[in-house]
Symmetry: C2
């Protein structure tokens, strides 16, 4: 039994490293980049606040569990901006999941892995709602910072719409507002003026 | 309806400030202090991992909700080390709860306030389990850093036992391990040698 507790405590100490994985998003309130732990916390609260916007029945506890652990793999695999994900990166994340969840007692390692796999596949209502929150938070931050991510990675308008499609499917009313804000955002109106596309 | 969504989005942006509230605990993996968002994330995962150690039936979703929002009041009231809490600080936290939860639509403001009040009172199984996680994480961090909090605030051994009593009540098996680690921790064995209390 001690061995079980020690594995759990080792896991709790190991995942501390998520606090050092720096994302591309700048905080709303301060000029520094967000880390994965802060991001995971934020989208869990967003799940509490925005649950009413989906018509699909989902289990908020499972959504939160997915969101709490979804970025643990980045301890080994690093953070990749959504527009740049590759098969190689996905392989690195699977290896990371083996190692990090493997610190836990076997039953818990399995439980966490099932949640993580489900989140990665984004096919169930739980994982799709979780994915929508995971996309919405950096989108809101990027909007608050003049589209700095689009600028940095040279993203096209169509890529933004495509990468955030899950928000439109899961929460159409939020998307209705967001699509307008996006279209009228100074970054894109500026781009349209540059290229002459009205 | 737009007004409702705008209130929710304002709340989501406002609580970003929790990421700038710096605690006394040093990370396990790096020499910097933890912030409230990171702490809240960490104790939610601890709830997933350590749920089996309590005999009291509790609702993990409610526990996580409490943990996610329990430190939002510190945006206005600041972080106070557990050994230094006063009635004045508690009053500041209640005012902060009025303002911050008040950004939300009324029904959600009420729901969040009920959860926060319950957490503060620590009388129900949900709030007691949440409080045990909230105490255990900084304790583990402090143990990993040679008892730096005890040193900084001149804390006595009996104060440590008293402030963490809830862990012993909620999760006796974790406490059984922790009590031993505490008693044999170099910080306290050193203190006992200084004072001559074997």
């Amino acid at each position: 039994m001690k061995d079980r507790l020690f594995r759990q405590l080792d896991f709790i100490r190991e995942i501390d490293k998520v606090k050092t994985i720096i994302r591309n998003s700048t905080l709303f309130c301060e000029n520094r980049k967000e880390n994965d732990a802060e991001h995971s916390w934020h989208i869990c609260i967003m799940t509490m606040v925005l649950a009413e916007y989906t018509k699909d029945a989902f289990d908020p506890l499972r959504v939160m569990k997915m969101l709490l652990i979804h970025d643990l793999v980045e301890i080994d695999a690093g953070d990749i901006v959504v527009y740049n994900k590759t098969a190689l990166n996905e392989e690195a994340e699977r290896k990371a999941a083996d190692r990090i969840f493997g610190i836990l007692p076997l039953d818990q390692a399995k439980e966490f892995r099932v949640l993580w796999d489900e989140f990665e596949e984004k096919k169930t209502p739980d994982s799709r709602f979780a994915a929508a929150m995971d996309r919405l938070e950096p989108m809101l931050m990027n909007l608050a910072h003049k589209g700095e991510i689009w600028e940095k990675y040279g993203i096209r308008y169509e890529q933004v719409i495509q990468a955030n499609k899950i928000i439109s499917e899961v929460a159409p009313e939020i998307w209705g507002w967001l699509e307008n804000v996006l279209y009228e955002h100074p970054y894109w109106t500026g781009k349209r003026q540059e290229t002459g596309n009205a």
